[in-house]
Every structure is written in C-alpha cells, then in structure tokens.
C-alpha cells in the first residue's frame, strides 16, 4: 500500500494511509495506545473510551479507534490530559467489575489489571455497583454479570444472537436469551472477544488434577491438531510454532501415562467420511453432505436447522473416534481395566466440553472421552505446575496413536477437513496418485470458499465456511438449489479451530493465519500426507470387526430443545 499522508504522533512523524485510524497507525508503528472494546474482528464501537488521544485543534479528547488520520494531524497519545481521562474512566470501569483477582481464571492474563498498573488506577475508588448481578451458566459457558463492563463485544460476535441486551443507562445488562427459539451453540467466541474476562468456560482443572494424583488411574491425553501451533503463545513462542513434542513432554511431566495425537483420530475421520461421501455421491442421497467435526456447528444444525440433520455426516469427530479407539482397542491390547482409564482431550474448543456428554456417543455404556480441557486451561495447568514449555526436553507422542499423517494435522485450519477428505476421495475414486496434493482453493481466511474438483469427469462442488455468521447465505443457496454443493465443511469459529473458542488470547486474523500456516508447514514436511495411508488406520480397518468400526466411528443426531440456563452462586 502506498503511504500518502504524514501524521505526527507524540512528536514523531509517521507516514500513513488516509483510510487508517489513528489506532491502526499507532499499532503499526509500535506506539501502544490501550483499549478495551476495540477488536480487529468487530465493528468499531468506541464505547470504552480508553483509547482516547489528544488531537491538536480539537476541543475534546477523541477515540483513536474511530478517528481516521488526516494529513498533518498532530496527536498526543500519552499526555497528562489523556492519562488523567483514561485513569478516571478505568476507575469507573472497575466499579462495575467484581475484583476477585486471586480466584479469577484470567488473573495471569488480565487486561484490566495490566491497565490499572500502568495508569496508577485506584481500583476500589468506587463501590462495586454490580455485585448483585447474576452469574449465568449455559452448557460449558459461564457468564459473570458481576464482571461485565457492557462493551457489547459478546453481543456483537455471537453468531446466533443468543446473548441479548436489556435496559439502558447504568442498568444496561447483557444476558443469555430466555427465548424458546434461542439456544447457545457453545462456540465460545464470546469468551474470546470479551474485553475483561467476564465470560469463561467451565473449568475442569481441579478434577483432572485429582485424577492425576491417584495411582490406580491410567491417564491418557490426546491433543487436537491446532493445539500444537497455538499453545506456544502462552509461553512466549512465536505465533504458529509447532510444539507437538513439547506438549507431549509437558503432559507426561504432569503425570499423564500416555499422550496421543488427535490428528490420528482425524485420519480415522477422514477415511470414514470419505467412504460416506463416495456412497452419497453414488446414491445421490442427502447431498450436500456436511462435515460434523465442529460440535458448535452440529449444535447449530440440531437446534436451528433440524431439517438439515440428514445432511450431517454420521462420522464422529476425531477426538471422539480416538477416544473410542483408546478405550476399545488400545486398552484391550494393553490390558487396562476400562474403569481405571481416564481420557482427557486438549481441545481448541468450548463446545467439545458439551460434545463428550452426548449419550449417543457411548460405546457399551462408556463415553469415549471423559474430560475436555481448552488450550487456555492446559496453559494454566502447566503454569500452575511450573512447567515452562520453553525449558522442557521434547518427547515424541506415544505409539501407536501418536503419529498422524499431514492430512490429519491440517484439520485445525478452515478447509483442512475438506482438503483431507478430497485427497482421499480423489485417490479412492480415480485409483490414481495425486499429482497435486494441495487444494489451495479451500485454504485461507475467507469466510466462504468454494471450489469445483473434477473427479473421473464428474464435477464435485465443495464449499468451506468458517465463522457461523457466514452460514446464512450458503444455507439459502442450498435451499434454492440443493445441487449447488456436494460437500460442505463448516467450522463455527473464524479461521476454523485455530481461531477456536478455547484458544489463547488475544487473537486476530494475523495470528490465526500464523497458527494455520504452522499446520500447513507440518503437513508439507510429512512423508505420509493421505489419511488412508496411515498405518494405524489401515491396521485398525484390517483387524477390527465391522461392528467395532461402526460403533467407534458412527453416530446419530436428533433435533434439540432449549436447555435450562442455570444461575450460579459463585464460580
């Protein structure tokens, strides 16, 4: 981009584009202007008034997030006047935010507290005015009205408008919708976009720490494809760094007996799903087929679009399949009593905490996965036990479920499931080696990606959606013309699982891209990049009975009714 105009920020000259805001120019040039309600994913709302700056010639202070630069503009970002206003607004903000710092999930990563330190804020200047607000729990999501500062980010980001706003003025309040036709899909994007940590996932650390203490338990961990390139952010690694072996080492150190890779589960999913797609293409039944790895998307279909349920693939998601393999295949081989085995999935996702509780996933009365920890929770667990991934010797995940193909690893990125499936479907249908393994058209951050692939002279039309806000147009297209797609991948979160509701903060598209390209790099370096060539998968399909394969890989769905919103006394 050509830089056209000159602005003076804190006495220094900078070049900028006319369309940029003051905050954008400042950020680009390493000048830190604090903010709370601003998020690169969202509309500019300018309601927290923390990013105010002084502009020469303007009587009042201006919000740098909303004002565009002009040639010759002189801006002060840290003058005494600016600092005074910021400090006071922060003190006002703290008066609506319950200060339970020592018990708070966000303690190590609290933007409010960091701002308080840098701005000499007296956090108790005003009496806490929201101490009687409610704490809501819906599924695995907890919304603490005692901490909410009314920035409205969650309200804006919620793809199903489950979060609503009532009242006005000081009595304005965000709350979960009591309406019968509104249900949370547990994607967790409200958590990711909350400016002050008023929303969090149900925390399962204590239970897992308890199990880790007990000698008779066989603790098995598996971690999702995306975790390997996101967890580093909690330990000052650069964005997108592959930490597969560091995660494994950390989990082992904390007491897990076995550490497996969910990307292996993804290879299972790909093989089963490719088979199903081939079948559906043959019969023409229930096309387009929808992916079902994303539990928030499945929740969405079951509640908001139950008529589309037959379109969902009946194949289970990767960690559920791997959990099934662990408990019904691996455990038997290792002669581990099923009563003593605890499977914990490390996931980028809050909806996965709900998914594992689905009754239809039980095999002989036993759930494949016992607990889900988000990436954030694992970082917290590591930190609590003084495990620093920077200073730990790498360890390889365990055999036999620790070595995925490249196809399994890219599941963490929007388009990854599609690409993995296409690789396998293409080969299975054409019996030809793939000359070009990469399907570039389904990669990238665009909310909706489409492509047509010619297989044996037949045009296969595919679509990839990330961020559930983009689903509306696609569903309309399918309604108008059911043949517009054969196969559709949907991920509820922006960028796919790399942008998941359980991932580290902060996040923006640049970060999502880096996390994602980390996964594609791993894929490039793998010798085996086709899911059906994974020796473990081949082995399993060869030796397991059809019935076992079915019970481990297949599931069903049903339309869902609204669940009760619980009011908690404390978190």
């Amino acid at each position: 981009m050509d830089k056209k105009i000159k602005v003076i920020i804190d006495g220094k000259e900078f070049f900028a584009n006319e369309n940029q805001t003051i905050l954008e120019v400042a950020r680009e040039n390493g000048i830190r202007i604090p903010f709370l309600c601003f998020h690169p994913d969202l509309e500019i709302k300018a309601n927290c008034r923390i990013c105010v700056v002084e502009i020469k010639g303007e009587k009042e202070l201006q919000t740098s997030c909303s004002i565009k630069v002009k040639n010759g503009m002189e801006i002060l970002t840290n003058s005494p006047r600016v600092r005074r206003a910021r400090k006071f607004n922060l003190e006002l903000l703290f008066s609506q935010h319950k200060k339970e710092c020592s018990k708070c999930f966000w303690y190590l990563n609290c933007r409010l507290l960091n701002l308080a330190k840098t701005h000499n804020v007296k956090i108790t200047r005003f009496v806490d005015r929201k101490r009687n607000r409610k704490i809501y729990k819906f599924g695995p999501i907890i919304f603490d009205g005692k901490k909410c500062i009314d920035c409205q980010n969650c309200f804006e980001v919620c793809p199903v408008k489950y979060l609503e706003i009532k009242n006005k003025g000081p009595e304005i309040e965000v709350f979960p919708s009591p309406k019968k036709n509104k249900e949370c899909i547990y994607c967790g994007q409200c958590i990711v976009h909350c400016s002050v940590g008023a929303i969090q996932e149900e925390n399962d650390l204590k239970r897992i720490e308890n199990f880790l203490q007990r000698k008779n338990k066989v603790m098995v961990a598996q971690f999702a494809p995306s975790i390997r390139t996101t967890i580093g952010e909690g330990f000052d690694f650069s964005y997108g760094k592959d930490l597969t072996e560091k995660i494994t080492a950390g989990l082992k150190k904390i007491g897990f007996n076995f550490v497996f890779d969910t990307a292996v589960g993804a290879d299972f999913t790909t093989v089963a799903e490719a088979e199903e797609l081939i079948e559906r293409l043959k019969t023409g039944k229930h096309l387009p087929m929808f992916t079902s790895c994303c539990p928030a998307w499945v929740n969405f279909v079951e509640f908001y679009q139950p008529k589309l349920i037959p379109h969902l693939t009946t194949v289970r998601s990767p960690h559920i399949i791997l959990g099934g393999v662990i408990k019904n295949y691996f455990a038997k081989k290792e002669k581990i009593n099923l009563k003593n085995i605890i499977v914990v999935s490390i996931m980028p996702c809050t909806a996965k905490k709900y998914e594992i509780k689905r009754k239809e996933l039980k095999i002989k009365g036993i759930s494949p996965v016992d607990y889900v920890l988000t990436t954030r929770e694992l970082i917290q667990l590591f930190k609590k036990h003084k495990i620093d991934l920077k200073n730990i010797n790498p360890e390889k995940p365990d055999l036999p479920l620790g070595f995925p193909t490249g196809a399994g690893v890219i599941y963490g990125s929007s388009g990854g499931v599609m690409e993995s499936a296409l690789r396998t479907v293409y080969q299975k249908l054409t019996q030809q080696p793939l000359t070009k393994i990469n399907f570039e058209k389904v990669r990238g951050m665009d909310g909706v990606k489409t492509a047509t692939i010619n297989i044996n002279g037949k045009e296969i039309k595919v679509g990839v959606v990330n961020d559930l806000k983009n689903i509306k147009t696609i569903l309309e297209e399918i309604k108008n013309n059911p043949e517009s797609f054969h196969y559709l991948e949907v991920m509820a979160c922006r960028g796919g699982c790399v942008g998941g509701g359980g991932q580290p903060l902060p996040v923006d598209d640049k970060i999502r891209k880096a996390r994602s390209s980390g996964l594609y790099q791993i894929d490039e370096q793998r010798e085996i990049r086709l899911a059906h060539e994974n020796p473990v998968v081949k082995d399993f399909y060869q030796f397991a009975s059809k019935e076992i394969i079915r019970s481990i890989t297949q599931t069903k769905y049903s339309s869902k009714k609204k669940t009760r919103i619980k009011i908690l006394r404390k978190i």
Partner: protein, 327 residues
Amino acid sequence: MEIDIIQKLKEANLTGRGGAAFPTWLKWEAVRNTQDEKKYVICNASEGEPGVYKDSFILDKWPKEVIDGIEIAMKTTGAKEAYIYLRHDYYNKFKNKLKKIIGKNPIHLFKKTGGYIGGEETTLLNSIEGKRNEPRLRPPYPTEKGLFGFPTLINNVETFYWVTKIAKNEYENTRFYSLSGKIKHPGVYELPVDISVKEILKKTNNFPNFPFFLQINGGVSGEIITHQELNRKVAGTGAVIVFDLKKTNLLSLMKKWANFFYRESCGQCVPCREGVYRIREILNSKKINFVLLKAIFLTMKETSFCPFGKIVPIPFESLINKLWIKK
C-alpha cells in the same frame, strides 16, 4: 428555486432549533450534493426534555407550515421519502391532523421508541431502523450515511416551520421560547433571536418580583444563570425556567436532574453510563464529595461518546459554581 432556498437559508442565518444550532443551509447543501439514489428527510419532533414544548405548540398551531417545510426540503435535496419522528404522545395527538395535510405524499409518521436520547439524531436513525436506541459514531454524519445508510437531512419541527416562512420571505429573525417555572404567564412565545433573557421576561410580563435564578437553553440540560447575567441570550432549545432563589431546594433540584439523566442515558459509553450513576450516588450521600463530582464532570465532558454525556455536567456545574458555594 432549489439553489434559491439554500441561499435564502444562508442569508437568513437560520440555525437548527433542536438545540445544536448547526447552520441549516450547510446540512441541506450536504444532502443535496450527494449522488445517492435514495435520500431521506426527517422531521425531528421527539422533544424529550422537560421544560421544552415549543414543537408541540407549533405542530398544534401550524402543522401545514411544518409539512410545507418538509416538502421544500424533499424537493431541494432530491429525497423521495420523509419521516416525521414524533414523541409518542405527540403521535397520538397529532397523527390525524398531520395525515390529513400529508395526504398521499410520501411522508411517514413514526412513533418515537426511545426516551430523551431518542431526540439525538443518530439515535433517532437507529430507532427508525428498529435498532437499539443508542447514538452512532460520527463520522459518517447523517448527511452522508443516514437512514438505512442513505444521505439524510434531519431538522427540528421549528426549523422546518421557519424554512416555510423563509421561502415566503416572512422570516424576521425570531424564534420560539418555552417559558415555565415560577412565573405568572408560562407558555410558548415568539420573540427575536438576539433578545436578552431580561427582555424576554419583561416582554412576556413574567419578570419576577422576588429574588430568582434561571435555567436557560435547555429544560434539564440548560445552564443555571443568576440575576447578574440577565443580559445573556437564550440558545439551545429556547427554554427559560424561573426558580425562586429562596424557596428552591438546590439539592432536590440537582437530584431531580440526576434522576432524569440516570433514566435517560443510553448506557453505551463508560463516562456517561458510570458518570450518571455516580452523580446520583454522590448527591444522595450524606456528605457530597465535590472534588469527585468535578472529576466526573471533566471526564464526561472530555470523553463522552455523544452530546448527551457532554452536556450532563452543564446544569450541575453552573448551579454549584454560582449558587451552592455562595450559600
């Protein structure tokens, strides 16, 4: 005729009578110069502040002139549709009368959804669009991106009334004043724009014969002035309220304002939402912390999102500085 009327508005020096006193011709020219396919004209009849009731007075007496003004605006700017945004009781009271005059013209009546803040012009746009009653970021200004994203001219009832008068060359630099409080003849009066408040009181036979103070420009948001400032002119919405200096309980008066602002703040931005809460709290406490109040006022003035938050301190500060300290 088109350029003519804008030129005439400019020469007449007509400014917005909704309170902000923005030069009317500038808004008109801005909307007229846009190339958009759709444009809107909106007549703001939301009049939400206690002590201000001149728009109701005009709608009652001269609805034809107001509609004529709207039609002139539509012709001049190229807008094919217009709205009259009416306070809900005004809607019930005037709808039949207005509908008769409007006939088949594309001028819609809209019943106001918000309270006081609904009169703020970008909030008004959100209200018509069915969104939350909160002001929008500016820029873009309504003249660039207004109703449903199209250029929109928003003027107050009185402004449209004067447009018609100007078009007919009948404007003589007057405006409407709403007079209320401890006076014998409360009501709406048409008087010159540059007249002092003393003359207003005298000409309307309302000059008090007891020690008094006034609130001018706005009914709640207006500034407090003392008998030493009677040469001041009245601006804003043209409100003049007379108080008995000896009998008025200043604290109760401030609490009344505080309750009003608490009730009417939209709650969008931090300084206003939290400011109105704390002002009320401090005024209701045993010992009023004036230092803290001052800090709140400064932050509200400097950092509030919209004009509402910025004007909240005006009545309090003027009362405290001019009357409280002397007490």
